[in-house]
Amino acid sequence: MLVQDPYSVLKLAALIIGGVLTVVGALCDLIGAIGLLRFPNYFVRLHAATVATIGGAVYPLFGVAIMSLACDFLGVARWFISAISFLTAIIITLTAPTGSHAVARAAHKAGVPVHPKACDLLEEDRKRGVVK
């Protein structure tokens, strides 16, 4: 079988890379869930949620995009699956951080307390009048 298919090494590599990306995504989801429960204030919890969104959705989607290329039993559908996963991953990469950014900015502007605070550069900038 290895002799018949000239792309068998590439396919094996694609399956392994895709599998690793999917596992990394699952780990990101786990980390994000733990962080969401354990982090002390709103902004770091939002950070954990973003880790879960980006890591837990984008990495597995890239993994699926790579893996489905190697799955011959899917027939023509594998090109569609791959392209759609890839596009969805890119759109999530664009929109999810933007959403988190907008929510965090609004929360900071509305005065949500940053309680255990290491540093708050945005607040310092506001005090100095650099940022409105």
């Binding site: 759109i91 664009l94 929109t95 933007t98 950014h101 907008a102 900015r105």
Partner: protein, 277 residues
């Protein structure tokens, strides 16, 4: 207080038990079985029957051919009702003959209206993607699930997002005003009605036609709308209906969002002037 809560809980429990019993006993309605019913079988067999074209709609999408061909008059009046509903919404805002004071704002303020620069940039990118997807949904309405109304609802998300992220003035500077939206949706509805009436023009010449007829029938002399069978499949009038509905619904929702996002200060100023008069 305790007694009231008890009564509410009791009533809820009785209601749930009664509804569940009614549904289980089949009292509420006819429960469809797993087999395909004769009516559904008719649509499935006939919507793209290349061998027997007596009842065909020239569209592989059974839902679209039902909506715009088999029971098209229903959808036609639904669209008109939707148009009138938006007109009702516009009527609430009929006092607003003034445009928001765009000129009174300086160029510098106008540029920083809306959210931060990250959100504004990404919103522009995503809005353009939404436009492409919506046009694709409308243009493939006779081939894949979707169609005019869904595409119109999808495209109206773009102006809503732009209003939130980039402020209303971004749309107004690009001439997407409420007057133009009103005109655009009227054009959409008129296109639908004209397409309905086109077969009737053949009746004036003495042909045998139905109103809103799409394809030729053996017992009518109307030649039917082009199917595009040899080049690009456009399914007769279904394509026209989908695109016109897309324009009408998209412009209608955009119009509502534009009206709802009028600054309150403009409203108050207008009412103040009205009462002073």
């Amino acid at each position: 207080m305790r007694g009231t809560e008890l009564i509410v809980v009791m009533c809820t429990v009785i209601l749930i038990v009664a509804v569940t019993t009614a549904v289980i006993m089949g009292i509420t309605a006819y429960t469809p079985g797993p087999e395909v019913r004769p009516l559904a079988k008719f649509y499935l067999e006939n919507c793209l029957n290349l061998w027997n074209r007596a009842y065909w709609a020239a569209s592989p999408e059974a839902v679209c051919s039902m909506l715009w061909d088999y029971r098209g008059i229903d959808t036609l009046y639904e669209t008109t009702v939707f148009f009138l509903a938006i007109i009702g919404g516009v009527t609430v805002f009929r006092l607003i003959e003034v445009t928001p004071p765009l000129e009174s704002l300086s160029e510098k303020i106008r540029r920083v209206l809306g959210l931060s620069v990250i959100v504004r940039t990404i919103s522009k990118i995503v809005a353009s993607i939404i436009l492409i997807v919506a046009v694709a949904i409308a243009a493939h309405g006779h081939l894949t699930p979707g169609g005019g109304f869904q595409a119109g609802a999808a495209i109206s998300v773009a102006p809503l997002m732009i209003i939130i992220a980039l402020s209303r003035y971004f749309l107004e500077e690009r001439k997407l005003t409420k007057e133009r939206m009103l005109a655009l949706r009227t054009v959409g509805l008129l296109t639908i009605w004209c397409t309905v009436i086109i077969p009737l023009i053949f009746a004036l010449v003495g042909q045998v036609v139905y109103a809103m007829q799409n394809q030729a029938k053996p017992w009518t002399t109307f030649p039917g709308f082009p199917t595009g069978q040899l080049s690009t499949w456009i399914a007769g009038s279904l394509f026209i209906y989908n695109m016109a509905e897309f324009v009408a619904v998209g412009a209608g929702f955009t119009l509502l969002f534009l009206l709802l996002s009028l600054p309150e200060e403009v409203f108050r100023e207008f009412m103040r002037r009205l009462t002073r008069k």
